[in-house]
């Protein structure tokens, strides 16, 4: 039986985390790292890598279903809004219907806001049919 909600995961996106994510992905775009540069862009300040917040969604899925059920999973998301330095991000989701599909989201909680920054769906592959069930159906 699939759960109705994903296990939520929280993460503090501080400057050190953004820097570490730049190092692991080798994405040193100054909009993530240089406050002076970022202030002059339409974003008006430093924003975190979108994939950093998406990582938290993977953490939520793995915490809910375990690594074995990650096989065959399909994830489709849109980046809706930027995550700012010092935001807390929370990832989770809800089962969409009786299928294996979940509506997933990442929310940013800042000093003066709480808003969805990533939204999409995660679809699990059907679990393998055990030999016992297969035999009883044949």
């Amino acid at each position: 039986m699939l759960p109705s909600e994903l296990t939520e995961r929280r993460f503090h996106v501080d400057r050190a985390a953004i820097r570490r994510y730049a190092d692991v992905t080798q994405d040193y775009n100054p909009i993530h790292l240089d406050p002076e540069f970022a202030a002059k862009t339409p974003m008006g300040g430093v924003i975190a890598h979108g994939m950093l917040s998406l990582s938290l969604l993977w953490q939520s899925l793995a915490a809910t279903f375990g690594l074995e059920r990650m096989t065959g999973i399909a994830l489709e998301i849109r980046f809706l809004r930027p995550v700012r330095e010092d935001d807390w991000v929370v990832a989770g989701g809800n089962r969409a219907d009786s299928s294996n599909r979940y509506d997933v989201w990442v929310r940013a909680d800042g000093r003066d806001r709480s808003e969805t920054v990533i939204a999409g769906t995660a679809t699990l592959r059907e679990p393998p049919v055990s030999p016992a069930i297969s035999a009883s159906n044949s």
Binding site: A17, T25, Q26, G50, M51, Q59, L67, M70, T71, E76
Partner: protein, 127 residues
């Protein structure tokens, strides 16, 4: 410079190799310590593999691109010391309302050629 005009839908842009080993996992767990000791590649590390490939292959991209959306399909999580190769293609490009939409397709396989995971990155291309 890989501008919108230069990119060709369907073209292979390049490939990038990555080894999922203790060193890579160690880098990752500086960010997410809870993934330490994971018997396979933590699922969130897909982004590390794909973004390293994208950054390396598209190093002469115009500045200011926006990552608007992402799809992933995970077929099997790599095991420790598995060698991976990611091939990046320009899947499509489309000019809509003055905005340059470019999608990139990534396919990451083991060194035997078996697909491990794939992705589609949707971007607003800056120039």
């Amino acid at each position: 410079m890989k501008t919108f005009d230069v990119l060709q839908a369907g073209s292979l842009l390049g490939e990038h190799r990555f080894v999922f080993d203790e060193a890579a996992l160690g880098e990752w767990t500086t960010l997410f310590p809870e993934d330490a000791g994971c018997p396979v590649m933590p699922p969130a590390m897909l982004a590390m593999v794909v973004m390293r490939a994208f950054i390396s292959i598209m190093r002469d991209r115009p500045p200011g691109n926006v990552h608007a959306g992402q799809q992933f399909e995970l077929l099997r999580l790599p095991v420790l010391n598995e060698r991976l190769v990611t091939r990046l293609r320009c899947q499509s490009k489309d000019l809509r309302n003055g905005r340059r939409w470019v999608t990139f397709n990534s396919e990451t396989s083991d060194d035997g050629g078996e697909l491990r995971f794939s992705g589609v990155m949707t971007t607003l291309w800056a120039a």
